[in-house]
């Protein structure tokens, strides 16, 4: 089977039973991983969530970095979040195309997937840690800094609607409160490490086609300066003054991620052992912070606090403005420490979010379902026709429209 593992890991947290489910080749090659995940979710009665990857995830197609997490619909809306950075590709390389999670663990812990193996690791000490502490703990205890970790913080544990999961410390993907789906199951994180490999139908042909498409896109788009290349509102001097370096997701030639350092000189490239900054790619959150009168430094500080708490920053900033009339670092800190749920700001109000990349939900699902980053491909120009040659040479059959 080309570009796929052909299986899903299934975890019942209540009984701590782990099993595997074969995913048929025809379904995988359809390129519609979102529909497969919805089917898997439906098969468990909608009581759980599914993590998935696309048939092109981890291929050489530009920005083939995307996986996703899908949970039960809420308020008549689909709840799906992309899984970006190196996490989507790493998840698929861990040996599973999908991960189905149901039930509730009797004590806190995390799921650990690597090399085709899946286990639930009990971690009662996680209850006292924030999302960053959980990621650190997993990487330290498993002895590998490249383990990708999707973690929730105290807001996810509490089941708050306005929670978000973070991926390797950073937030921006989860705008539907999917972190609460993990938290209410006593699942504090999901960790994965990609040690697998994928056969490709025509390796040389796939490479050549991907090089052509990449060269064409670089010619048209030029070099990225990070998030400001996707939204000119962030080309402000205070933001640029804190910029360390942009960094890409897997396979992306035009990164939207800008790392800002706020506790040390951002121009210093030597290794630092501090926790000096934040990786900005959450466009709606930055708009909200700047719209609330914050500087780039204050916005970075607030986004760090929200990420650690596992709280969705647009909702937190909106609540601060509503309840105390301003959004200062201290008001945000107070809000994050309180045990009160705040309303989640709806997806429609999140201009610049991943789900708004196309202005067309079907295109978004199609792109994500193939394993391609919607933000990159909306900018580069997505269509099945554009990716079909690269895809067919990888998977051996034409993509369906």
């Amino acid at each position: 089977m080309y570009m796929a593992n052909g299986r899903a890991g299934v975890v019942d947290l209540t009984s701590v039973e782990i099993s595997e489910l074969e995913i048929d080749e025809d379904s995988l090659l359809s390129g519609d991983a979102v529909s497969i995940a919805e089917r898997l979710l439906s098969d468990i009665g909608g009581e759980g969530f599914v993590m998935g990857s696309g048939i092109l995830t981890a291929s050489l197609v530009p920005a083939a970095c995307a996986g996703f997490v899908i949970g039960p619909p809420k308020d008549n809306g689909k709840r799906i979040a992309p899984l970006l950075g190196h996490a989507g590709a790493e998840f698929k390389l861990s040996g599973f195309d999908f991960l189905v999670v149901k039930g509730r663990a009797s004590e806190p812990g995390y799921l650990w997937a690597r090399d085709g193996m899946l286990e639930f690791v009990r971690a009662p000490e996680f209850k006292s840690l924030d999302s960053w502490g959980r990621t650190d703990k997993i990487r330290d205890s498993q002895g590998d800094k490249r383990i990708q970790v999707l973690s929730v913080g105290p807001w996810g544990d509490a089941g708050f609607d306005a929670s978000q999961f973070v991926v390797d410390y950073w937030g921006g993907e989860d705008k539907s409160g999917l972190a609460s789906e993990l938290g209410r199951r006593n699942l504090m994180a999901i960790a994965f490490r990609g040690m697998g490999e994928f056969e490709v139908s025509d390796p040389e042909g796939h490479l050549k086609a991907c090089l052509r498409i990449q060269a064409d896109q670089i010619d048209r788009m030029g070099r990225s300066s990070g998030i400001e290349s996707y939204d000119a509102a962030f080309a402000r001097e205070d933001f640029k003054g804190l910029l360390h370096r942009p960094i890409a997701c897997f396979g992306c030639p035009f990164p939207c991620r800008s790392f800002l350092k706020i506790h040390e000189d951002p121009r210093v490239m030597e290794h630092s052992h501090k926790e000096p900054g934040y990786l900005h790619y959450d466009i709606p959150a930055l708009h909200k912070a700047f719209g609330s009168g914050m500087s780039a430094r204050e916005a970075t500080d607030v986004l760090i606090k929200c990420a650690r708490a596992g709280a969705e920053p647009v909702s937190v900033l909106a609540e601060s403005m509503r309840s105390v009339g301003n959004a200062s670092a201290s008001s945000i800190e107070k809000l994050l420490g309180s045990a009160h749920a705040v309303p989640r700001v709806g997806l429609d109000a999140l201009k610049g979010g991943f789900a708004q990349s196309f202005g067309d939900a079907q295109q978004y699902m199609k792109c994500l379902g193939l394993g391609l980053c919607p933000r990159y491909w909306a900018k580069a120009g997505f269509s099945i026709e554009v990716v079909s040659e690269c895809a067919e040479l990888a998977i051996g059959v034409p993509l369906k429209g």
Partner: protein, 110 residues
């Protein structure tokens, strides 16, 4: 022929890792590549480690490139220790990592 790395041009996309394995084993995986992307997320510190026949390990770190390091032990930036990996063979002259690197941070030097 040798490969030159300009670490500050690297954007950490990891394409060099998987294309290396594609050449070597006709599969996509970062596990068997001669070049490894090293990332420390929290400090945004990232660069490349290249295993060569003639210079030992070439470390392309943000603060500069250094060669002559010896591969040792079971640890390292990748899940498969670099000691167990094959050194770069320049893809029989095709240097695929050079071709696919979107920022040209890896180049060929004669």
């Amino acid at each position: 022929m040798k490969l030159n790395i300009e670490p500050l041009k690297c954007i950490g996309c990891g394409l060099c890792e998987v294309v290396c394995s594609l050449n070597r084993d006709s599969v996509l995986t970062p596990m068997t590549s001669s070049i490894i992307l090293h990332i420390e997320d929290k400090s945004n510190y990232f660069g490349l480690v290249l295993k060569t026949k003639s210079e030992g390990l070439v470390l392309g770190r943000p603060e500069g490139t250094a060669s002559g390091q010896q591969a040792s032990g079971a640890s390292g930036p990748g899940a498969k220790p670099i000691l167990l990996r094959e050194p770069c063979d320049f893809c029989n002259g095709e240097t695929k990592c050079v071709k696919i690197c979107p920022t040209k941070c890896i180049t060929v030097v004669d």
